[in-house]
Symmetry: C2
Subunit: 409 residues, 2 copies
């Protein structure tokens, strides 16, 4: 093991090459799931993996698995991975770091001529961000049996394009069944997306678990009318009602301690015309908290707040829950391995809790799972300004290398 070395510059340069795909003028990345930039990033990843001697498989949901063979080829693999898709105005490290750290592990083992007993798999999970089809961690969700394959394939974006059709269009409707093979352990490297590690000057977080999340789609119905002729008192303005709900939902967060996070991130108005009173407004709610009981309590509070406004304003209200992630605790042995690897490598580390959901949360239901966090600048993520340091990424990859080879023996 002492001869295996993570190549900091190679890892950084791979990030920079990937960041060109879907690069935004503001210095970030826009690579929505199953779009042309996603296809291009997948193509680059696959070509790099093949150059590194990996066999590449694609399943029916477009999840990619690049395998470095083990000396015992049929043993269950040790898996790592993350996602290539980003937010519409996302950064250069969210997701892609977990994929490229896995690739760097393989490249470093190749350089050192080291074989592992178990195969090593690098997974690219389809549609982690959940922006386009409004349901996050889709690929790992189906892989781990928590989401139905046919339902996922039938999901459509705002313009009516389906996951099934878009997978076929970009050429990633693979032949393999989704899931169904054992995973010996799963480790995912990721930027923290929060401020803790940077603030404390610590390089690696051994992730203990992730908070739970409930997502909703709220549809408010009113009546369209002419902005100039419909008196104020006769109006049933769906956007006005939605605006009042957005304000009320924010206030719900502050009535619980510690605060949950409640976000209305997207809204769609019909007809969205400057001189027509809006007849419909649909928006999303993303609510998260580490405790299941609090998640349930704010669910009830949010529904009550919206219902009261709808009633007062004469609006119809439909609330659909679109996802439900219970709080996740990662595997104690995996967490211990991450801690031990950081310690052995002399890397400052601490235990940490994830505010975000990750593909690892899904995998934790079918395999021993752990995560490795590295700092990101100012804790900023889901933002074009998202940034990380080459040496921190390399430290995270070094820990990943150590835990993967340990679990592969």
């Amino acid at each position: 093991m002492h001869d295996v070395r993570i190549d900091r510059d190679r890892l950084w340069n791979s990030h920079m090459a990937m960041a060109e795909i879907g690069a935004t003028p503001g210095g970030g990345v826009c690579r929505l799931a199953l779009t042309d930039p996603d296809k291009q990033a997948r193509g680059l990843f696959v070509s790099w993996c093949r150059e590194a001697g990996c066999a590449v498989r694609v399943d029916k949901l477009g999840n990619i698995f690049a395998r470095r063979a083990g000396s015992e080829p049929d043993a269950a693999p040790v898996m790592t991975g993350s996602h290539l898709d980003t937010q519409p105005l996302g950064g250069r490290f969210d997701g892609i770091f977990g994929v490229l750290a896995g690739l760097e592990v393989v490249r470093a083992l190749n350089d050192a001529g080291i074989a592992t007993r178990r195969p090593l798999d690098i997974a690219v999970w389809s549609d982690e961000e959940g922006v386009r089809f409004r349901s996050g961690t889709m690929g790992s969700g189906v892989f781990s049996g928590r989401v139905n394959l046919e339902e996922a394939l039938a999901m459509t974006d705002e313009s009516g394009l389906s996951v099934r059709g878009e997978l076929a269009r970009i050429g990633y409707d693979g032949p393999e069944a989704v899931g169904g093979f054992p995973v010996h352990a799963y480790f995912e490297a990721h930027i923290e997306q929060g401020p803790v590690l940077e603030r404390e000057g610590i390089t690696v977080g051994a992730v203990e678990g992730a908070q739970g999340a409930r997502r909703f789609r709220v549809t408010v119905g009113g009546e369209e009318g002419h902005a100039g002729t419909l008196p104020m008192t006769g109006r049933r303005d769906a956007l006005l009602g939605a605006a009042r709900m957005i304000d009320a939902l924010n206030r719900v967060a502050f009535t619980h301690d510690p605060h949950p996070v409640i976000t209305v991130g997207s809204i769609f108005v019909r007809p969205n015309s400057p001189n027509t009173v809006p007849g419909q407004a649909a928006f999303t709610i993303d609510s998260r908290h580490p405790h299941a009981a609090t998640l349930a309590a704010i669910d009830a509070d949010m529904r009550a707040a919206c219902a009261a406004i709808a009633k007062a304003d004469g609006l119809t209200l439909h609330i659909e829950q679109t996802s439900d992630s219970t709080p996740v605790a990662f595997d104690k042995a995996c967490i211990a391995s991450v801690r031990a690897a950081a310690k052995a490598l002399g890397i400052p580390h601490r235990d940490i809790y994830s505010g975000a959901g990750h593909d690892a949360c899904n995998l934790s239901h079918i395999a021993p799972t752990g995560m490795i966090f590295v700092p990101c600048e100012g804790g900023v993520s889901h933002n074009e300004k998202e940034n990380a340091k080459p040496e921190d990424l390399a430290a995270g990859a070094a820990v990943l290398l150590r835990v993967m080879t340990e679990w592969a023996e």
Copy 2:
């Protein structure tokens, strides 16, 4: 004159044929300015006018003028008209009635073999609704010298397509200068888009004037962040701020008596992703009142309300006024002609004020102008359910015929 007859069924059937172009599943029409449906409706109108013996000209902004020659060909025309474009979920009568009533006048005069001294022009004004390029009554605005031609041509829609480019694409970038010829008088027939005529059982409104309007585009800037990891207390959520402003703007309307109408009809959020705290929210304000002083007062109140919220929430605020229509009083002689025509034809009528803006408001600055309103069902407009009765449309056209022929002598 007693031999000239409006053909109620022909007028109705023309409406129904036009309503097929851009028909929506909900029974309305979506025919946004300079889209393919707009092109198709223009083509049908032009073909009908040519069949009716009219000469058709198109100006550089796509305004169409179909002229029935007068016995004194060089005399200034008596003009009528309106628009073919609709709201995204608009109805079958807003705009198109004024165009088809003009065509029915020409057809009826042709049937009766009657010549007028002055030419009669039927105008189709480009982009009255102002949905796509966010600036209403564009064609008549430039024609009457109130909007700059180059500025209008340079306007772009949300996807960056320009008026200039879209006019060329649909083949209505005509050769004629915009405006510059005298109009002897202008009369526009339109559905009321309000409840007054129907409620009182009256068939024709002699329109005295129209309330003023100010439109704004408000851009709220915050900071994007991860919905799961960014604590509630550190957030600068642009959509939350916009929501609070929308609520506050609504309350401004109720602090003035009689109430102005204030509408936030459209909103655009960036990145509009369910799991990202919104970094930007831009929305429109449409404010209207019959009195210029009240319009100015609510302008100040609205700016103050938005500024207070932006300050409290740590958001940036940019308010751009996108249009300013002063209250309009139509020509007293034109109003009197409409009244007299209705009376002579035995049609129940009353004076009425327009809540909406119309192309006639622009024309009133360069020619004696009047409008003829007919009832619409429940006062509903800018809505797929917009409806009107064949006999009311015919009555409106009969009044239009009478005032146009009177002014053409």
